[in-house]
Symmetry: C2
Subunit: 326 residues, 2 copies
C-alpha cells in the first residue's frame, strides 16, 4: 500500500479512500491510484481492512456440504449478501466436522451474524449462540429466544399436495414421513390437517426420511401392505425420498401415475429432469436466502430485535408423477 501511495504520489490514506470507494478523492487521483496498484499487482488485504474497521460486515453460513438444496440456498445467500454489502463466510458441516465446530470457526473470525442452514443444533447451544450475535435458522423451525427463523410453510405445502391429489380423485393418500428432519413435524401436521379437512380416511404413516434410501424403504413398507389396503397416492417428505420411493415401486412393477401417484417436496433440480418429472412442492430457495440475509442485516444495521418466524409460501409444481386414480 505504501508503495502504491508512493508511486501514485499520494498518501496511504488516499489509497485507502480510493479502494474503499469512499468520497474525498478526485477523479484524476482515483485513476492514478488504480494505475499504480495495477502496475504493482497490489490488492488490498481484507483481513487487515476488517481489523481496522469497527464492523467486519461478515456473515457466517453453516451448511451441509454436498446437500443439493443447501447448494441452491448458498447461491441465494451469496447474491443477497452482496446486495446488502455483506460478505459471506462459509463453514461446512461434514461427517467429520460437527456443526459445533463449524460455528466455532465462524465466531473466531468475528462474524457479525450467523445463518444456520438446516441446523441440528440443540436448543441450549442455539440459545447461547443467539446471545452472542444475531442468528437465523433457515429451513428448521426452532423456538428459541433470540433466534430468527426463515422457513417454508411446510404444513401448507403438504396441504397443497393433499388437496391436489384429492382434486384428482384420490381418497387413500399416505405420507412417507421425515422423522426428526427439519420441517418433518410440520409436514406431518399439514398432511393430517388436510386429510381431516377433506374427510379422507386416516392412514398410518410410512417410515421415510431424508434420502433416496429412506424412500425406497418406505416403498418396501407400502408394498407389504395387504392388497386393497394400500393407498392410491403418496406424499413424500422430500424429493430425494420421493425419488427413491419411485424407483422402488416402479421396479416392483407398479405404474406411476396410473396405479400410484407420488408428490415430493423441495423441487430440487433432479425433480424437473424430463425423465423424472416429479410433481412436487417447491421451496423458494431464492426467497429463503434473501429473507435470511434481510433478517440478520436489519438486526445488525437497523438494530431491530429478533422477529417472529418468516414463513415463505411453497408452490405446487405439477409434473408427471400424479394423475387420477385408476
Amino acid at each position: 500500500m505504501e508503495d502504491v501511495a508512493a508511486r501514485a504520489g499520494v498518501s496511504r490514506a488516499l489509497v485507502s479512500i480510493v479502494f474503499r470507494g469512499a468520497v474525498g478523492a478526485s477523479e484524476g487521483t482515483r485513476e492514478r491510484v488504480f494505475a499504480a496498484a495495477a502496475d504493482l499487482g497490489y490488492q488490498p488485504d481484507r483481513r487487515a481492512s476488517r481489523l481496522g474497521r469497527t464492523r467486519t460486515r461478515m456473515l457466517g453460513v453453516v451448511f451441509g456440504v454436498g446437500h443439493a438444496f443447501h447448494g441452491d440456498l448458498i447461491d441465494s445467500l451469496y447474491a443477497a449478501a452482496a446486495v446488502s454489502d455483506y460478505e459471506v463466510v462459509l463453514s461446512g458441516v461434514t461427517p467429520r466436522r460437527s456443526e459445533e465446530e463449524a460455528v466455532r470457526a465462524l465466531l473466531a473470525e468475528r462474524c457479525e451474524g450467523i445463518v444456520l442452514v438446516g441446523s441440528a443444533l440443540p436448543s441450549p447451544a442455539l440459545s447461547e449462540l443467539a446471545g452472542r450475535l444475531p442468528a437465523v435458522s433457515v429451513l428448521r423451525d426452532v423456538r428459541v429466544e433470540g433466534v430468527d427463523v426463515v422457513r417454508t410453510d411446510d404444513a401448507e405445502g403438504l396441504r397443497q399436495a393433499v388437496t391436489h391429489l384429492h382434486g384428482l380423485g384420490h381418497r387413500r393418500i399416505v405420507h412417507a414421513d421425515g422423522g426428526r428432519a427439519p420441517g418433518a413435524a410440520q409436514r406431518r401436521r399439514g398432511y393430517r390437517s388436510a386429510a381431516r379437512r377433506l374427510g379422507l380416511p386416516s392412514m398410518p404413516l410410512l417410515p421415510g426420511g431424508l434420502t433416496e434410501e429412506d424412500g425406497a424403504r418406505a416403498a418396501g413398507a407400502l408394498l407389504r401392505l395387504p392388497p386393497g389396503e394400500g393407498p392410491t397416492a403418496v406424499t413424500a417428505f422430500n424429493d430425494r425420498c420421493a425419488l427413491g420411493f419411485l424407483d422402488a415401486v416402479r421396479r416392483a412393477g407398479l405404474m406411476v401415475p396410473e396405479q400410484l401417484s407420488v408428490v415430493g417436496f423441495d423441487d430440487i433440480r433432479a425433480a424437473s429432469y424430463a425423465h423424472i418429472a416429479l410433481t412436487t412442492i417447491r421451496q423458494d430457495a431464492d426467497a429463503l436466502g434473501r429473507l435470511a440475509i434481510e433478517r440478520v442485516a436489519s438486526r445488525l444495521d437497523g438494530g431491530e430485535p429478533p422477529g417472529s418466524p418468516v414463513v415463505v409460501a411453497p408452490a405446487l409444481v405439477v409434473r408427471a408423477t400424479t394423475g387420477a386414480p385408476r
Copy 2:
C-alpha cells in the same frame, strides 16, 4: 486480551503465548490465563492473529456447492488440513458466482495456497494463479506449468469397468460419454484402449454428461438403436449419469442386469443404496483430499517445486447392476 491479562495478573504477551500453546509459560500461569479467559468469555481473534503472524496458514478451497462428490472431498480436505495445521477457507461456485470470483475472494484473504476442486478455469487464468501461490487442481487433469494435479486414474477406472464386463461375457460394450467434463477425455481413452486390447468391436459413444438428465438422454439414444445393434453393457461417465440412464432404460422395459449391464464412476453415496446397488468405479475421496493438502503443504513448508500429477488408483465396486449377458 488486555482484560484477560490483567485478570490473570500477567502481560498480554503471556496470554498470547498461552493461547498459541507456545513454550514459555508455567503450568500455573496457563491455568490462570484460561480461567480468566473463560470468566470473561474471551476468544482470540483469528483475523488479528493472522495479521500479526508472518504466515497465515490458510488454504483456500474452490468447489461447487451442492455437488455430492465435492462434499465428500471437502470432508477429506478439512481433515487433512487439520493434520498439517492449516486452516481451510471455502469459496463456493454457484450459478451466480463464478469460479473467477471465488478465486478472487480467496486471494483477498491472503490464502497461502489454493485447492481447486473440479475446476473449469481456462489455462491462462490457472497459469496466472499458479504464479501467485501454490495451486493444485483436484479431479481435473490440467497441464499448466506450476499447477499441481491430484486426480483419479480415470483411464484405469474405465479399463477396470470394461475388463469386468468382458469377464462377465460381454462383447458389445458402449460408453456414455462425459463430453468436456473433468476426467471425461481420460475415461473415454480408457474405455477405448481396453476395448481395443480385449478385441471388442468398436462402438460409437453415447452422448452423456454429468447429470441424471444426461444419462437419461444417453438411454434415449441407446433405445433408438436398431434391434440387434444395441450393446449388452454400458459404462457411464459417472454415477449420476448412470442413475439417470438406469431409470430411463428400466422405464422403457429393459431389465438390468439381465438385458443390460451398467457401470458408473465415482461411487457417490447413492450408488450404494440397497435399492440402487450400482456397480461402479470408486474414486477415493479421502486419498484425493489428503494428497491435495500434502502437495500444497509440502510446497509451502518444504519449499518443494510443483511435481508431476499425483494419480490415485480407482477401485471396482461390484454391486447389482452388472451380470452375464442374457
